[in-house]
């Protein structure tokens, strides 16, 4: 009898825990405006979901915040999701769950360019409007891509910046995220193209290494670059973890002024190193605005205001009017140029994102 008692108690405890967690999730969700716990959504507001790369990433949290603002302004309901690890498998699972919830639109920040095509095609077949933002998926998988900035411009501007910092002369290296990150790979391609320009004939890209967006690996890779190329003048890191890790290494080794770091990074992560002049300046776009624009694009798609074809225009709240344009693969909505963060403006941005 006693055993039954124990079993009963433990099972009830598990059940209670699950329900409690479920409630908590729903409560936490509604706090974020993502409460999907009632069926009320069906007949009233439209529901717009966004799936980011992985949870606990400040860039993603701000992106989703902007998305949520836009959707709520438009009178809809926002669902914010992200898998625990940045994997395609995790995103497929979440998208399946969202399809079951019969959402109206899905905004994806892809962990892979091609790997989400089957599940996103399925979503579109079920009448869900699909768009991508930040990290694109291929043109068959979405109706439109909301682009933070032109990849060509992002690639070229980083070479221009680094050239200015080192007076168009010396060895430079790139510290990227993972070798599988399609965004980063595309930017590095454009960097290489920009370097073919005659202005940069005295500059040499000595190595492209991958820090896998891990602190420890990014640090060892940076140290290896410094050891292997004693004359290295600059490191370009087009990724948040990489640029901060590289700057930390330069700071600790007291190489300020000898090796410069630039690239793409979060102002909060980079504030320290812009202020100590390891990185004279770096770039990023505003993730809140990017999410906001994606939110309005999602609303416009689901209202039938646009279809994702070239020439469509729509109003994106405070950001004004936007037009869908043609690119090499599919159509896109372009936010604007990347924003430059330097010692004069970093203080006002470091607490924002």
């Amino acid at each position: 009898m006693k055993k039954f008692g124990i079993l009963g108690i433990v099972l009830t405890a598990i059940l209670a825990l699950l329900v409690a967690c479920g409630d908590q999730g729903a409560a936490g969700g509604s706090e974020e405006g993502s409460g999907g716990d009632t069926g009320g959504g069906d007949d009233g507001d439209k529901r717009h979901a966004i799936v980011f790369k992985s949870t606990g990433n400040p860039f993603g949290e701000k992106l989703m915040e902007g998305f949520e603002d836009a959707v709520q302004e438009a009178g809809g309901e926002a669902i914010l999701r992200a898998p625990e690890q940045p994997t395609v498998e995790g995103q497929i699972q979440i998208i399946e769950e969202l399809i079951s919830q019969q959402i109206d639109s899905l905004t994806i920040v892809g962990n892979d360019y091609d790997g989400l095509e089957p599940v996103l095609t399925k979503a579109m077949d079920r009448g869900i409007e699909v768009l991508s933002t930040d990290s694109a998926v291929n043109e068959n998988s979405r109706m439109v891509h909301v682009n933070q900035a032109d990849p060509e411009a992002i690639g070229r501007i980083q070479i221009e910046a680094v050239a200015e910092m080192i007076d168009y002369e010396g060895e430079i290296a790139v510290l990227s995220a993972t070798s599988q990150a399609s965004n980063q790979n595309l930017w590095i391609e454009w960097m290489k193209k920009e370097l073919e320009n005659a202005d940069y004939e005295n500059m040499e890209l000595v190595e492209v290494t991958y820090g896998d967006d891990l602190r420890d690996k990014s640090v060892s890779e940076t140290e290896a670059l410094l050891q292997s190329y004693p004359d290295l003048k600059a490191i370009i890191a087009p990724t948040t973890v990489g640029i901060a890790a590289a700057s930390k290494v330069i700071t600790d080794k007291g190489l300020q002024g000898e090796v410069v770091v630039t690239g793409l990074g979060l102002p909060s992560e980079m504030a320290e190193y812009i202020q100590n002049e390891v990185s004279p300046w770096m770039y990023l776009w505003n993730p809140i605005e990017l999410g906001y624009l994606a939110g309005y694009t999602a609303v416009a798609l689901s209202d039938g205001e646009i279809t994702g074809d070239v020439g469509d225009t729509f109003e994106a709240g405070d950001l004004g009017s936007y037009e869908v344009t043609e690119t090499e693969d599919g159509t896109e909505v372009l936010l604007g140029d990347p924003f430059r963060f330097d010692i004069d403006n970093i203080d006002e941005w470091k607490d924002v994102y």
């Binding site: 992985s54 949870t55 990433n57 060892s220 890779e221 050891q227 600790d252 909060s268 190193y273 470091k350």
Partner: protein, 335 residues
């Protein structure tokens, strides 16, 4: 009877010594290869980087050694490290005036609590360590995201005193390395010269007879997991201070690296066997690989494959050496 025991003891000692020489030889060989491929490898600056980067790994590996000796395993250390690092970072963000020693203490306390929970589940409830720590790994990782509000703590939010933990030096040695050396010396003394230390080995080699001979197994299990937790907590603070950033996914998957360091160092997953010096060499081997592979001029896509091959070769090398020695001693092994 005693003579036989003595003989056996000497043989075992020889083997384990031999083993470590094998590993040391392998590391030297690897270092020579790296040096030939890139002369920057054996420079003072690079070796300083290498030791600094290996310090945290070796601290964790020593704790893991004790766990493995008791036939246990702890998969939750990466998550414990992240949780205590995050809590320490959040605390110094709120109270920038806090003494760095106190920050370290907070990290250790959090780690100890995490370790006590695991120790309790293993020793009192009797759940298998691999499963208990797998469950806690998920739970601690989730907690880390939760308390951080899914934000990071960045460099500018940490006071200089906190970041100095990792960059300052004591007696001319980098603090991280100094702490690792202190812990190494403590462990060396602890496992070789204290009764509790010997009890850990006794329990690992034969749990049943250890219990019969009066060793309080609950206490020993509790101790090793608590120590592991405390070391993970310490490592968490050092990690956050070293990289000047606390993230929710800090050290995700790091437990496997730590276990690899132990096993390379000759710790047996079946309990009872493992030496402090061996574990240190295991950690150094991984440190040399992490440091040396980016230095040699191979495609970054080949690095992982080369690393895997070298680890496998090191493992087989060790085993073959050991089997040869054993054969020559005609020792009968218990499977």
């Amino acid at each position: 009877m005693t003579e036989k025991n003595l003989l056996k003891h000497i043989n075992l000692a020889n083997i384990s010594k031999f083993r470590e020489f094998g590993l040391l030889g392998f590391i030297v060989l690897l270092a020579i290869v790296f040096q030939i491929l890139n002369p920057a490898f054996l420079t003072f600056g690079n070796l300083a980087d290498l030791t600094k980067n290996t310090a945290i790994l070796s601290i964790l590996a020593l704790g893991m050694m004790l766990v493995l000796i008791t036939r246990g395993i702890d998969l939750s250390i990466g998550a414990t490290l992240a949780l205590s690092g995050m809590i320490a970072a959040l605390t110094v963000r709120e109270f920038p005036g806090l003494s760095p020693l106190l920050a370290i203490l907070i990290g250790i306390v959090v780690g100890v609590i995490c370790g006590v929970v695991l120790g309790f589940l293993v020793s009192k409830v009797g759940i298998l360590p691999i499963i208990a720590s797998l469950g806690l790994m998920n739970a601690y990782r989730g907690l880390t995201y939760w308390i951080s509000g899914r934000e990071w703590v960045s460099a500018y939010q940490m006071p200089a005193s906190f970041k100095d933990i990792a960059t300052s030096s004591i007696l001319g040695i980098n603090t991280l390395v100094f702490i690792a050396i202190m812990i190494f010396l403590f462990f060396y003394y602890f496992v070789n010269n204290t009764i509790t230390g010997r009890q850990i080995y006794a329990l690992g080699s034969n749990p049943d007879s250890a219990k019969i001979s009066g060793i309080n197994s609950h206490k020993v299990y509790m101790l090793v997991y608590t120590m592991m937790g405390g070391l993970s907590g310490l490592a968490g603070v050092l990690w956050v201070s070293k990289f000047a950033s606390a993230q929710g996914n800090t050290a995700s998957g790091y437990e496997l690296t730590v276990i690899a360091a132990c096993i390379l160092g000759g710790v047996s997953i079946n309990g009872g066997i493992g030496k402090v010096t061996g574990v240190l060499l295991g950690a150094v081997l991984l440190g040399v690989l992490d440091n040396g592979l980016p230095l040699i001029d191979v495609s970054p896509f080949w690095q992982m494959g080369i690393e895997g091959a070298i680890i496998l070769i090191a493992v087989l090398f060790n085993t073959i050496v050991k089997q040869t020695v054993e054969k020559s001693h005609r020792l009968r092994r218990v499977i």
